[in-house]
């Protein structure tokens, strides 16, 4: 059952980084700059998650992800609900694939 060990190993190393902060975060008194830093992290993470990953939505057609992202951006600037933003990007990418 080699696969089972592989799955257990992957599960273990995936859980550790998620788990550690839940064990120690409340035992340490963090300075106030650290708390301000934690508030900024989500924006930095999301930026890094979006780009350049969005170019590989369809690995051979970077334009496809970009167009989906552009649609999402325009809808989000327009203050539409997050579900509509997602739907708009999905439909845009479907439509562009259908046309090309």
């Amino acid at each position: 059952m080699n696969e089972l060990y592989l799955i257990l190993g992957m599960a273990f190393v995936t859980f550790i980084p998620r788990l550690l902060p839940s064990l120690f975060m409340d035992r340490i008194r963090f300075p106030s700059w650290f708390q301000r830093w934690l508030k900024i992290i989500p924006y930095a993470v999301l930026g890094a998650l979006i780009f350049p990953g969005i170019l590989s939505v369809a690995p051979d057609q970077p334009l496809l992800g970009l167009l989906g992202g552009l649609a999402a951006f325009l809808l989000a600037v327009w203050n539409l609900h997050i579900t509509l933003v997602m739907l708009g990007a999905v439909l845009t990418v479907l439509l562009v694939q259908y046309i090309l």
Binding site: D26, P42, V45, G69
Partner: protein, 233 residues
Amino acid sequence: MIGSREKIFQGIKAGSPLALGYFPIAVAFGALAVQADLTWVEATLMSILVFAGASQFVGVSMLLAGAGMVQIIMATFFLNLRHLMMSMTLNHQFRSFSAREKIALSFGITDESFAVLALGGQGGDEHQALTPHYTAGLMITAYLGWVSGSAFGAIFAGVIPGEITTAMTAGLYALFIGLLVPPIKKSPVYLTAAGAGMLFNYLAGFFLESGWSIVLATLCASVLGLLILEGSE
């Protein structure tokens, strides 16, 4: 406990776009896992125990390419180091939760659940103070979408056309963009951090593997944001 039931329901509502977005991608994962000679039970078990899309795709692709167990597990570990930073941020927001709740909820941290939990309350129209019930409702909903999709894909490999999977992948990026836009419209510091995160990750991608480059880009971009914030006060 009507309050907590309502919170669970709100969490399920906030998690349902994630479940819908995860499903076809999990189907693609299940189909790929079967190609890599995993049984449908093993593919589903991996989703149940690992619950991390990127590392599961990388793991199965490496398996297809003939990589060894240690290599795959190490790649998974480095790919997921970014969850350490996400978990720090979220556990700071979870500080009123019990120790047991924090440990249990840590398992459900993914890029997407993090994005909704960390940003959902800020700038959006539905302000949500995080409670254990809300968080659990959101995570369990997303989890069920991921696990059921994996089983479906492994059993009925090739049912969902590639075009739909591609479009749904774009949908998950749209989730990130939709969560990011309202706060960065209001705050130049957040805008800088997000823009720098993109730029640094793009640059780091030339010489680092994706797991490391996201970690490095996040660190640099968030420190840059902090310096600007401290400098402006």
